[in-house]
Symmetry: C2
Subunit: 235 residues, 2 copies
């Protein structure tokens, strides 16, 4: 794998590095002091861009889209957070305003940790500090890959990349031994890829004709991941 090649495959199936996993019980306890849990229905907004960042959120179960909205109301999905991931911490660490929107992609259980508890724990745990530095640096790497993808790859290639990434995320939803189905609206998929819904639909039809995937209602089942990888990887 060429060092200069855009996106070696291991950079696609990025999962946010685990920030809280295996943190000492004392740290976790301090974080949890005022923790509350809430169930968000599909489409419910968790936080809004520009809102005061009252705290951070932990995805106990479900999937969350992080996105920006432009002047015309068009969404751009930046990232899909999965079960086990922490969101909203950038705001607390920089200017106390969320830099984007977050909304549930499916019914999700989300825990809320007030900013004070997060900051207090951060002040006492050098491990949490190091985890955050590492995660943020890793996110940077992932984001510049994404950026380059948007700047240089075609819609077809970007769709291939996102399908590969989404398949990884939906693995968790699939019962063991059962096929992995991606369940996402064409609008959200288009927003993730950065194109219009119609284009996504047309390319999915192409992929179907090439026996790369099949659909069941709005659900997508990848049949030939290697073909998809080749499309994503090459011009």
């Amino acid at each position: 794998m060429s060092i200069t090649g855009l996106f070696p495959i291991d950079k696609w199936d990025f999962q946010s590095e685990s920030i809280l996993a295996d943190l000492p019980p004392a740290d976790l306890e301090m974080l949890s002091t005022h923790k509350t849990e809430q169930v968000y229905k599909k489409g419910d907004i968790i936080f809004r861009e520009g809102a005061y960042a009252a705290g951070i959120f932990f995805v106990v179960n479900g999937k969350v889209k992080k996105y920006k909205v432009n002047k015309e109301g068009k969404e751009q999905i930046i990232y899909v957070a999965n079960t086990g991931e922490l969101i909203g911490y950038h705001a607390i660490l920089s200017d106390d305003r969320y830099p984007d929107f977050a909304a549930a992609l499916e019914e999700s259980t989300i825990a809320f940790i007030p900013r004070e508890d997060f900051l207090k724990t951060l002040g006492q745990s050098s491990l949490l500090n190091n985890r955050l530095l590492k995660t943020l640096s890793h996110e940077f790497t992932v984001l510049i890959n994404s950026l380059t993808m948007f700047a240089q790859k075609s819609v077809r290639e970007r769709l291939a990349v996102q399908l590969i990434v989404l398949r990884e995320k939906y693995k968790m939803n699939a019962k063991p031994g059962m096929p992995i189905e991606i369940n996402m609206s064409r609008d959200d998929l288009a927003s993730l890829v950065g194109t219009a819904r119609e284009n996504v639909v047309r390319m999915l039809t192409e992929f179907k004709e090439e026996n790369i995937l099949q659909t069941r209602g709005r659900k997508i089942l990848i049949l030939d991941i290697n073909k998809l990888i080749r499309i994503a990887d090459y011009k």
Copy 2:
């Protein structure tokens, strides 16, 4: 200014938050223990993507492009670092491989700080720790704005944005009272905007016809920054 509006102007003229400024003398001294300085000529490569991250770099004077290179050899500039900025620290904090290339855009003086000194100082300075957390979070915000720009804005709009940003960076080069000239090859400008050189040239011609800017050789002088802001801001 709408909260949901893409890129309020203060997010464009982003300068990396100062990481080292006003750090206690003891910290700066520890960082400088094995510091070395080197002059890079225009085009010289400072580090390569994938290379072992032996340390971090401080731009004492000059301008540095950070970029990715795809399989076909096409460059994508991610960011232009200016005098006073630190680069290469993401690698040290995550996986010890530089995530992109860095090369001098003009003759530049660059200081090198070995990774051990950086890590040692980081271990002893909670201020440096906090600065890094804040900077990384801020970079995240800037990058998701960039990402959304690439995904949703036209070449014309992106060029307008980049000219505004570059003008800020070249302010430093201009003698007080003298006009601010952007001095960048059309290829680099195209790579920054994410398009072909020919398109950049054509759009610059348009901007000239609209009295937004003028050129002197390859140098660009912005005449009407407000028009540029309007183009960058609206569809």
